[in-house]
Each structure stands twice: as C-alpha cells, then as structure tokens.
Amino acid sequence: MHTHIEQSDQPLVCLHDISFSYDGQPVLEDIDLHIEKGEYLGLLGPNGSGKSTLLKIILGLLSPIKGQVELFGTPLDKFTNWHKVGYIPQKATQLDSRFPITVKEVVGLNATDKTKVSEALAKVGMEKFSHRLIHELSGGQQQRVFIAKALAGGPELLLLDEPTVGIDSESQKEFYSLLENLHRSGLTIVLVSHDTEDIVREVSRIICVNKRLVCHVTPKEFIAGNYYDQLYGDDRKTIIHHHSHD
C-alpha cells in the first residue's frame, strides 16, 4: 500500500496530461502543469477557453477524461486535507439574494470557532461588518467576505474564479491589494480572469489556456512573447510551453 507523505518543497498542484471534454467536444487537451508553493498565478484565457474548467478539475469538481491530479503530493481521490484549499467560485453564492444571512454566519461556515471568524474578517478589513446582512453590502465588500470565508479554514492555496466581475474599479484596486498582502503572508494564489491588463500587473506568473496550455511565463515574458495576440487574436493554434523560472 502506498502512503503519501506531504513535503513542504513539493508542488501544491500537479496536473499530468489532463484532458476534458463536454458532450464529446474537447474542452481541455494534454495539460501538464505544476503550481509551486508561494506562487501568485494568473490563469488567463478567452471566454470558453477552459480556464474555469481547469480550476474545477484541480478541485475535483469535474473529473478529467484523461490524466491525473495531485494536491499537496497526494492523488486527488486520496486527498482529504481540504482545509488547506480555499475556493471562491465565479458565483460565490446560490442563496436567494434577499435571504438574510450575516457576514459572521457566512465566514463561520468554514471556521471551526469564533476566533477564526474574527481573525479572517480582520485579515480582509471587514471586522466592523460582522453583524451586517450580506445583501446590504456592496459587490466589493461581499467579495472581501467571500475571501474571509475561504481564509477561515486556514488554507495554504487559494483559488479564485473571476473574482472582480461586477465590481467597480476602486474596489478592484483594493481587492488586488488585499490579494497581494495575502500572497506576501505566504498564501499561494491562483486567480482566474479574462482581465489581462490587471493580471499582468498583479501576479508573479501567468498561465494561458486556450483548450491547451499556451504559455506558463512571467508577466514580462508574457508581454515580450506577444501571447496576448495568440490568446485573443485569430490564430488560436499556437502551443508554446515555457518553463522559465524567476
């Protein structure tokens, strides 16, 4: 019987030869990817490029038709330390938008005790809002609460799917500043977005997906390599896979 011992220097996420199709239509093909501890990754791609699907495969919400996923060195089907993973989906709640639920109750869903709730709210600067109802908050404030919810579980890896959609530009700035602080405090972050400009400015590495892995580069390499045109231009066939490290 194999045992999987988690080591601190191993990648937090390993994708080996991942393919996924929906109703016979290929969505992702032959994706190999490692996400190292401490990275702040931007996952870019046009609409329908498979970036959200890739995130869901990492989280085990979708099963690939081919390939393997490892989280913290453990095959996904044997992985149990889910408290190490925080996830904020594109639509962060399905709750009826007018149904009363307080900030404290939302963050408490992932926390083991009240102290964790207060700590998580303090990290995102929302401790004064703990008794407020979620639907009374602005889009930017709600997003901070969703991050606090994810942080309350004490994750080492935080994955966010299009978190700035519908948020005004001022709140977006504050949001990116918050993510930067969390990254500095040691959190590994994967941020899915189609907002290339913001991502290039904020993250330390960029992964581009368009059915296949188009690139895995630094922001500087992304700009120099003209990957933007490859992603969003007419020619979507280019497949380049750099693995240069900082």
């Binding site: 989906p89 009826d96 149904f99 009363p100 307080t102």
Partner: protein, 266 residues
C-alpha cells in the same frame, strides 16, 4: 381546561400540529433559501398518490405516503444531480404525475372519496393514535437531523461547490435533506392536506426572511409564525367548523401581509 382539550381528537390534532408546525419551517427555510420550494408541493401531490394507494390496499395511508414521497424525493435529487432535465421541469412533471396517479388510484376503487377529501385539505378529526406514533418520533428525528447537520445544510445552500471543496459530503446531505422534506410533507398531510402543505413550508419562512437579522433568527421566527398559524388554525377549525388546512394557511398569509405592511411603513 378549555373545552377544546376535553376532546381527545383535538388533543391529538394539537400534538400533531405542534410537531408539524415546528418541522415544516425548519425544512422550509433551507428549501426557500435554495429557491427549491416547489419540491414541497410536488411531494405533497406524490404523497396524495401514496395515500390513495394506502386506502386502496387498506394500509395506514401515512406509511404509503412516506414510502411514495421518500422514493420520489430521492429520484428528484438524482435528476437534479445528473442534470438529465432541469430540476424545475422535473418537479413540474412529477407534481402533475403525482396528482394524475392519485386520481387513477381513486378511480380504481370508489367508496373512499369522503375520507380522501380530508387528505386533500386537512382535517382535525382524522389524526389517530397510530398516526401520532409515526408523527412524533419522525418529527423529532427531523429536528435532530437538522440540528446535527445545520452548518452543512447552510453551507450547501450558500455555495454547493464551495461546500464540496471544503470536504462536505454534499451528495449524501442533499439526499438527506430531500428525504427529510418528504417525511415532513407526508406527516403534515393529516392536518394541512396534500394541496396546502407547500404553503406551510414556504409562507412562514418568507415572512420571517423579511424581518430577520440573520439566518438563524429567520429560522426561529419562521417556527414562531408557523406554530402561531397552526395553533390558531386549529382553534378556528374547531370553533368555526372550518377545514384545518385552509384556516392555517389563511392565518399564515395574514401574518405575512401584516409583517410586509409593517416593514414597508418603517
């Protein structure tokens, strides 16, 4: 003791009513929050088919209603999970299908139509001791289950994918919530009736959600509004000779309107 409690059938009706008045909003809160409240009406109609089958086969109709509604509740969750067809469409089809099957079963054996009428609209005179043996322990089981899995149910209602990622057994708990809904609906039929049960799961919850300052407060207020409706409805049914289910639902609607107007005037 007030005159009403000298009648043993009324004592039984009140015991059943208090249990039902407590569990209906408890389950209803999670259904309304998830925008899945049509399930209550669907299972009400399915329970009616179960009742008709029980009357036809001379088995306690609550038992056959429980079996029918639990089976369909699990089927609905499977359909929703596998996305063969949309959840809403499945509910609408099963709602009509349940009523159609009930009508066919009624047609197969004439003679129990009067008894069936009480299952459609509820009655205070029909709760038997055998019914209480089912209603009280199963009702307590619903309360225990919701108390134990409260955080998980809320987590799933808030964000199903997020709940999965945090390690919650979402598929199991979704089926459990559906089974608890089926049990609540089947137990409520004696008092409220199969055509009105959906209202008791939804109206007190909607009323509470308008004024509550938290999810937990909403749940507690919904139980208070529901119990007020049930107890007042049973009194109205006894003293004014009105159908129990209709009285309970009308009172819960009055509470809703008063709360709505009160909130609007603030």
């Amino acid at each position: 003791m007030i005159e009403i409690f000298t009648y043993s059938f009324m004592v039984r009706a009140f015991i059943a009513g208090i249990v039902i008045g407590s569990i209906a909003p408890l389950i209803g809160t999670f259904l309304v929050a998830r925008r899945f409240s049509l399930i209550a009406d669907t299972l009400g109609h399915i329970s009616l088919a179960g009742i008709a089958l029980g009357l036809l086969l001379h088995i306690n109709p609550i038992i056959t209603a429980l079996i029918a509604s639990i089976s369909v509740a699990i089927l609905v969750e499977k359909i929703r999970h596998n996305r063969y067809i949309s959840g809403e469409t499945a509910l609408a089809m099963l709602l009509s299908g349940g009523l159609a099957l009930a009508i066919v079963l009624i047609g197969l054996a004439s003679g129990f139509n009067v008894d069936l009428f009480s299952y459609l609209f509820g009655s205070i005179t029909t709760v038997t001791n055998t019914d209480l043996i089912l209603i009280v322990p199963l009702g307590l089981l619903v309360i225990v289950m919701v108390t134990v899995f409260y955080k998980q149910f809320l987590s799933i209602a808030f964000d199903e994918e997020g709940a999965k990622v945090s390690g919650i057994k979402v598929n199991f708990l979704n089926i459990l919530l559906m089974v608890l809904t089926a049990v609540t609906v089947s137990l409520s039929i004696r008092i409220i009736g199969s055509l009105l049960i959906g209202a008791l799961l939804v109206i007190p919850v909607t009323t509470a959600s308008q004024i509550a300052k938290s999810f937990k407060q909403s749940l507690l207020l919904a139980i208070i509004f529901s119990l007020t409706s049930v107890v007042s409805g049973l009194f109205a049914s006894f003293y004014l000779n009105l159908p129990a289910g209709g009285s309970i639902v009308v009172i819960s609607l009055i509470i809703f309107v008063v709360t709505y107007l009160g909130k609007k005037s603030q």
